[in-house]
Structure formats: structure tokens, C-alpha cells
Symmetry: C2
Subunit: 301 residues, 2 copies
């Protein structure tokens, strides 16, 4: 089978590439830690070339890229599309980085609001992939280092809100007194009652989150609880705080479209269901591939 | 003038000592970074001896210590007094660390509650000093790395709540994408509208704090705001989140007894006043000295 495109998701600290046929089947794939930060040193074309060579791809194969390669400090800036942003407009606003080969970078989306300025790069392509059949409406949650909550209206990104949940988790777990409680480095168990209880407490009283996080350390000190659920409690508090924020921002919700992968998707699904929301899950990797494929098809048509 | 005691505030990462006369006047003082963490390596008696020698103190001078020297991993454990904890009981629960010299360590206070386990070491001595005239009631805020909010009833610590505000500020400022916005390392300006606006937003909608913190980075990216107020905004969001938590925990408040020193006291005063509370400020250094002096007097009487 001959590849139709090379699809690339170029994050801040990760690089992923798939060779896809015209139906979207994966013919080959690769990943590395050569995200934007490393690629700025190595050179973006070099990183891409090496991966294409490793996958034995035709050098003239069209490449469709999303993510931080299009940031100001990336390969070539693909200026943000402003909200309200139609998913259909993204493809037309992509930039071509080279005259020789058909390499395109999709733009990010920004919210140029004084009260709620916000940016995304990469998630818009997941949305394009998840809703490529068009006309989607509703609230979408895309968990990650900087989790996005997006209000979609008939295929248009109306507005969105970023929560720093993932990055704040890492900062607290690694750089506060809580690392004494989290020393075993265990992951949060999404099935456990420690996790869902923490979610519910934070949804109910979000303002007490930074106090209950301290209690993750005090309780073992007083032999009131062990440290075995420390990661679950910290994760539950922060995801619960985020859900409370999303409810404050988007009103009472009954269902959420979740676009996520792996462990994080499992944690978010458990948290959202504990908070009484019904969840429809789409795999984020599949969504980004579908988005890049959709973009490539429209480009060629 | 002959010293009456050496008063020592032994924190996690700082050591402070004052020689006081019987009226509480400072005859000499010193400070170093030999808090509990360093003292565990050097040896607690060695650190104390060096400072007493440097201040030319009589080796038989009584020493009164509060703080982390009494922790389980400190010099000698001074077990927590449980809430409700009378300030009058603290002195009788101090421990003597040496048979040769009259060196005492005051105990901390713990809240052995399943829902709200909590601990303090050092702040109870500030409370003793600030309310040594007895019978104090009301809500007290003691800002720090781990800020304490305490409900006092007639000289008794009824209950208290720790917020990890200071430590979370440092973790976010130093170990997330916000360090790009905070790169200039400037301090928060308590007088500025950026600080008080952030406080008010967080008090009103605490659940959105981790989203607005991300906006501190997005706004300059979109040229909607500069980075000059980044520290004020981050500080305001986190102190505002704490105030919202204290209101959730202790009910609507009209006034707060603030025990703090320096920059942090100024920030908290500005934040509490912006949130509509009336503030009475007591200097924390003065309070801890007064508490240690009170303890020494009762011990000797």
C-alpha cells in the first residue's frame, strides 16, 4: 500500500509521525522526544527528514503537521485563527514551509479576549478529526499538560478555556513538601475511592483545594491515613478543581465529549462520571490522525 | 543589661535567635539558614552552641525554642497538643532537651480530624505572643509557605486550616511555563490594580484560578497584556483562592487578625482589605519573641 500522507503531531516535548494511506490506515509510525524544544536546536527539517528516512518514505510524500511547529518560536509561524473559529477554515489557513516539498503546518486557535485570553495548538486538529463529519455541538474536554475545555457550535469553536491542571500536578508533586508523601512515585488509581472522593470534594468546595492538598501530607504525619493514595488524592483534587471551573465557565453540564488517550483519558472519564456527567470518549491519537488526514484531503481537492 | 533568655524560632529552612532581657527588649540577635534541614546534618546542639557563642551568651542561659526542632525528625520530639488547644497549656507541654542546661522546645498543635487533619509548629507560639494578654477570640491569619487560618475562642485554638499558597506559588513560578512570563523575577506590587483585581476574581470564582493563571502566559503571547504584572497576578490569584477557602471554611468574616512580617504581611493586608475584610496587623517577629518570652516566664515561675 502506498502512503497518502505523513501525518505529524509536533508537541512542545514530543514528536509523533504516522504514514497513512488514503483511507487513514497506519502503514508505519514513529515517535521521539524531538518536540519543539529539541527541534529548535537540531533544526526542524533535520528532525522531519530523519524520521521520513527511517520510515523509508518517499521524500516527495506530502506532510501535514499540527502543533508547536507552527508557533512563533517553531519552524514557521502559522498564525492563530481567532474564535469563533470554524474547523472548516483551519485547512485554508495552513502555511507551506518549503517550496520544494508539499509540507504544510496547520494553524492554532486563539481567543483574543481581554478577560479570557487563550491559545491552543494541536487540539484544534483533534477537534477537526473528531468532528470531521461536521456540525458538532457541545462541550469538549481535551486533557493534557494544559487541558482545554471547548464550546463547539455547529462545527465552530465558539470559545475555550485552558486549565493548567497537568503542569500544576507535576510542579506540586515534584517541588513541594508533597514529594515526601508521593515518594513511591505510584500512579493515581482511577478506580479507587480515594480518587473519586477527592474529585467530589473539589467539585463541591473548589476553594479548599490547596488546603486539602496539604492534608495529603498531614494525614500520614498524624497516622490518620497512609501515603498509598497520595497520587490519587492530589490528582483528584486538581481534576475536581478543574471540573468545578468548567462548570463555572460553561454552566451546568450533563454530558461531555472527552478526547483523550491512555491513563489520562481513564482518569478524566472516572472523574467526570463521578461528578455526574455522562462521557463520550474519542481516542486522541485517532482524532489527531483523522484531523491531519482530513486536512490533507481538503488540500489536495 | 543581662539576658533573661535566648529565644529561638527554628524553622524548616531558617534559624533565628534573639537574646532578650526580662522585659522583652532585644539585646542581641542573629539568623542563619541552619533550619531543621541543615541542622539535621550539622547537629542541633552544634548549631545552637555556635550561635550562643557568637552572641557571647552565658552557656547556662535558659533557651526557649519553637518550631521544627520539636518535630519527629527534629532535635527532640515535642509531641503535638491536640485541638481544642489552650495557649496556656503549651508551656506545660514543652520538652527539655538536655539535663545540663535549661533548653526547652515548645510543642506544635495538631488537629486529629479525619476530614481535616492538620498540623502547625511555630505558629502556636506566635499566637501565644500575640494574645498573651489572654482570652482572645476571632479569626487569625498567619501567612507563610504554609499559611494558617486559626479560629481562636477565649485563648483556645478551636480549629485551623493550612493553605499551601506560598509553596504552590514557588512551584508554579519556578517549574511551569509561567517562568517564561515571570522571567524578570520581579516581586508582586501589593498596591497595584493587577494584584487586587486578581484577588477579587479568585475570591469570586475560585474554581477558575488555574485557568486564569494560564492566561498570565496567554495574554502576553497575544499582545493583550505585558508580563510586567505577572508576579502580582499569580500572587493575587493564589491568595484570593486562599481567602475564598477561608470564607468557605469559617463562614462570612468581617475582620481578621493578621500576624505577619515584611512583604508577605503587606500583600496579605492588601488582599484581605480588597476582599472587604478589616485587618488588624501584628508583627510576626514581635509575636514569636513575645510568645517565647511568655513561655520562659511561666516556666520560671
Amino acid at each position: 500500500m502506498k502512503p497518502f500522507i505523513a501525518a505529524v503531531d509536533w508537541g512542545t516535548s514530543s514528536f509523533r509521525i504516522w504514514l497513512l494511506d488514503s483511507a487513514g490506515h497506519i502503514l508505519a509510525e514513529d515517535r521521539s522526544d524531538e518536540g519543539m524544544m529539541k527541534a529548535r536546536e537540531i533544526g526542524f527539517p533535520t528532525v522531519l527528514d530523519r524520521h521520513l528516512t527511517r520510515l523509508s518514505a518517499d521524500p516527495e510524500l506530502p506532510v501535514m503537521i499540527c502543533g508547536m511547529a507552527g508557533a512563533k518560536q517553531g519552524w514557521q509561524e502559522a498564525p492563530y485563527v481567532e474564535t469563533p473559529a470554524s474547523l472548516d477554515d483551519l485547512v485554508g489557513r495552513s502555511v507551506r514551509v518549503s517550496a520544494d516539498y508539499p509540507i504544510h503546518i496547520l494553524p492554532g486557535v486563539c481567543q483574543r479576549s481581554f478577560d479570557a485570553p487563550d491559545v491552543m495548538r494541536g487540539e484544534e486538529t483533534q477537534l477537526l478529526g473528531a468532528f470531521s463529519k461536521g456540525g458538532a455541538s457541545g462541550i469538549v474536554c481535551l486533557p493534557g499538560t494544559h487541558t482545554k475545555w471547548v464550546l463547539m457550535e455547529k462545527g465552530i469553536i465558539r470559545r475555550f478555556t485552558t486549565f493548567m491542571t497537568g503542569e500544576i500536578y507535576a510542579a506540586i508533586a515534584g517541588h513541594t513538601i508533597l514529594k515526601l508523601a508521593l515518594a513511591e512515585g505510584e500512579d493515581a488509581d482511577p478506580e479507587g475511592v480515594a480518587f473519586t472522593n477527592a474529585v467530589l470534594r473539589a467539585v463541591e468546595k473548589p476553594a479548599l483545594a490547596t488546603s486539602r492538598i496539604f492534608a495529603i501530607r498531614s494525614a500520614p504525619l498524624l497516622n490518620i491515613a497512609g501515603t498509598e493514595d497520595a497520587a490519587a488524592k492530589l490528582s483528584g483534587e486538581l481534576i475536581g478543581l478543574e471540573i468545578a471551573g468548567a462548570l463555572a465557565q460553561f454552566g451546568e453540564l450533563s454530558k461531555v465529549e472527552l478526547i483523550g488517550s491512555g491513563k489520562l483519558a481513564t482518569l478524566y472519564r472516572a472523574a467526570l462520571e463521578a461528578a455526574g456527567l455522562s462521557v463520550h470518549l474519542t481516542d486522541a491519537d485517532q482524532a489527531v490522525r483523522a484531523g491531519l488526514l482530513t486536512a490533507a484531503r481538503r488540500h489536495n481537492s
